[in-house]
């Protein structure tokens, strides 16, 4: 376990490097780059799709406590989050809707499923 933790620590150092390199380039580029050029927009699209895939994976394909809940409850919770966001245009309210829906679906509906 200590070995794994050392490994994790080393990898976190690498995580710092691969993250900071873009911040570093940002400082160098401050006088030159167009923040909304085609290249950066494409990168934005790639990162967005990657994070969307991550959202699906954490929600529907992770071990841990979420896996104990019904898939339908989780899907309902994300749908409620989007609905609440579009209704109120507030991210916090959407997230609150997701959290409450998941708990409600599990407590109220689980016995029926």
């Amino acid at each position: 376990m200590t070995g794994a933790l050392t490994m994790l620590g080393a990898l976190l150092g690498a995580g710092f490097a691969v993250t900071y390199v873009w911040r570093f380039l940002g400082v160098l580029a401050v006088k030159r780059i167009e923040p909304e050029g085609d290249l950066l927009l494409w990168v934005r699209a790639v990162a967005t799709a990657l994070v969307a895939a991550l959202v699906m994976r954490i929600t529907f394909d992770s071990a841990g406590v979420l896996a104990e809940t019904a898939v339908l409850s989780r899907a309902t919770a994300l749908a409620m989050a989007l609905a609440a966001y579009y209704l109120f245009r507030r991210v916090e309210l959407g997230v609150a809707a997701a959290v409450i829906s998941l708990a409600a679906a599990e407590i109220l509906l689980r016995p029926l499923m």
């Binding site: 995580g15 993250t19 873009w22 809940t69 916090e92 997230v95």
Partner: protein, 214 residues
Amino acid sequence: MAGSFLGFGALLASLGIDLRAGLASNVLIWALPGQVVFMDMWARGADVLVIALAVSVTAVRLLPMVVLVLVTARLPGAPRWPEFLLAHFTAVTMWIMANQQIESIDMHRRLPWLLGLGLALMAGMLVFTCLGFVLADRLPPVLAAALVLFTPAFFLLSMVASARWRFDYLAIGLGAIIGPLATAWLPDFDLLLAGLVGGSAAFLLARPRRRGAA
């Protein structure tokens, strides 16, 4: 933002990751999507090069963010090292808060103000990460699960809220569809594949048209 780090703490507990590693990622990576990609892939035993690449992909968006924050604060002729320090603290919440308040701050004080803001945010989030980690253990399983769901729900809505072009929405949809397929097909590279294929397709299909461009 506090809530999202509460969720991150709960996610760490759920993935079975050491709290110290999570706290170190707050200080070292300081960008939540990268941290979550990192921890999720690590918990699945992904290859270290693939982890590094995926984390880096999520971090490219910090480049324009650093540029946008710095142009409001840098003084011509001043030493540049504080700018490199500030860059490390630059992430989405700081960028939003800076946007809201920087105008009211004297030009000479902006850089130190931003550094203080970044440091305060980081310190606060260390506390919230610990709190989420502990809560996940103490709460009934249903509430702990709800706390873990916080992170994906927050990411999803943040992406929708910051979407400005059609390709943003398309990238969210394609990433969400390709992600699970890629997990089944090429589990080691699924996030990278979903990002690269989904993002590129979205960008090509709904490429923004610019004002002034023929």
